[in-house]
């Protein structure tokens, strides 16, 4: 008849060969993490869009970079892990930063060396239904940059340093990117040359008058992996303004 001490001794003396390889564990864990990051980003884009709508409705926002917070979470897949920590969006999403009638956000350097270039025709008809163009995101760093963005950046049309028109409703799909140093990815986009309004509805608004305008674009970038000292925030990617003449 075994007693408790015997049982404890037996269990304490158990031994088994350890053939664990940390490299294998890390490789398998990375494969498992990526789809979650994509999903987290998609949820984040949706959540940020919600914040954006709220921000537009609350036209009393004094600063386009006013901070708010949102934390996304996905359903738990394993009962053994009680909590998740996804990238936390501690500012407005890129599609909500530039607000109609406000001063556009000043470009800031990307943590990852990403830069946007806005490429629209130099001249476009003021009465066009839409002006088509493209935004190019270039990796200006010396490192490969992997992650995801919205399927198209948000373009703002600026006159007298105020936003007068914005590109269409946010697309909630995301796009994976994997850019070598110097490599670029192009996004097709367009905007209606119509005066925007603070409530976000440009339907009945007047067309933009003929004249000179500037264009700028913003997009959020979520890295595939975070370094040890990197903040858990999507990186806001921007770039220099370009010129456009409506006539």
């Amino acid at each position: 008849m075994p007693d408790e001490k015997e049982l404890r001794d037996l269990l304490a003396s158990a031994d088994a060969p350890n053939s664990l390889d940390p490299a294998v564990v890390i490789r398998r864990a990375k494969r498992r993490r990526l789809p979650q990051q994509v999903a987290a980003g998609a949820v984040g884009v949706l959540a940020v869009a919600g914040i954006g709508v709220l921000a537009v409705n609350l036209s009393s926002l004094s600063s386009p970079l006013a901070t708010t917070s949102d934390q996304s979470a996905l359903s738990d897949e394993a009962a053994d892990a009680p909590s998740d920590e996804f990238l936390t969006q501690k500012r407005l999403g890129a599609n909500a930063i530039n607000v109609c009638g406000a001063v556009p956000a000043a470009p800031e350097p990307s943590r990852y060396g990403l830069e946007l270039t806005v490429d629209f025709p130099d001249v476009a008809p003021a009465n066009a239904a839409a002006v088509d163009g493209q935004v190019t995101m270039t990796n200006t760093s010396a490192e490969i940059v992997s992650g995801m963005t919205a399927i198209a950046p948000t373009v703002a049309v600026i006159q007298d340093d105020l936003v007068v028109a914005l590109s269409g409703p946010a697309e909630y799909a995301v796009q994976m990117i994997d850019l070598a140093p110097g490599q670029s990815v192009e996004y097709a986009t367009s905007f209606s040359p119509v005066q925007c309004s603070a409530d976000g509805d440009a339907g009945d608004n007047a067309p933009l008058e003929a004249g000179d305008y500037e264009l700028t674009a913003l997009v959020d970038f979520t890295p595939a992996e975070l370094g040890a000292d990197e903040p858990a925030l999507a990186d806001l990617i921007s770039g220099p303004r370009s010129q456009l003449t409506l006539q």
Partner: protein
Amino acid sequence: MAKPRQSPEWESVVTRLVTERGDALTRYAYLICGSRDDASDLVQDALVKTFGRLRNGHTISSAEAYVRRAILNTYLDSGRRTSRWRKIAHLEATPEIDDAPDGEVQSRVDLQGELMKLRPRERACVVLRYYEDLKVDDIAQWLSISPGAVKRYLSDALARLAVSLTDEEADRA
């Protein structure tokens, strides 16, 4: 400009955990699943499950707690819990110990063999109680069962161990 990329924090926690606590985790997995061959695989699966999520800020000890729990749940939730152990338990006995004249050693082998024939949840309760030194309420929380069920599993397991050993000793006599 982009900064030089460092390994994410979770990767260094994995490396340290495997290096510093790999033996202990494998031993724990062996006690849970009852197979030396499967123990490392079980730990690896648990590590992947734990770190294959978007989580940072773990210390080695907090990560180990998650992994231990994942080992237990992975085993209990998977097909591994089929009675494989009970089928092969007799093959795991070390031959030279079978021949040992020392009564204490013989008793230990008997106990180990019988322990490995327990049902998975019975063995889990025994391991958590007598190896991890958890209280009944804590075991109940780990296994998401009632404290009463834990007591029942422990009681049945100890009775089974005692009965089996008693029967075998009677047979040997």
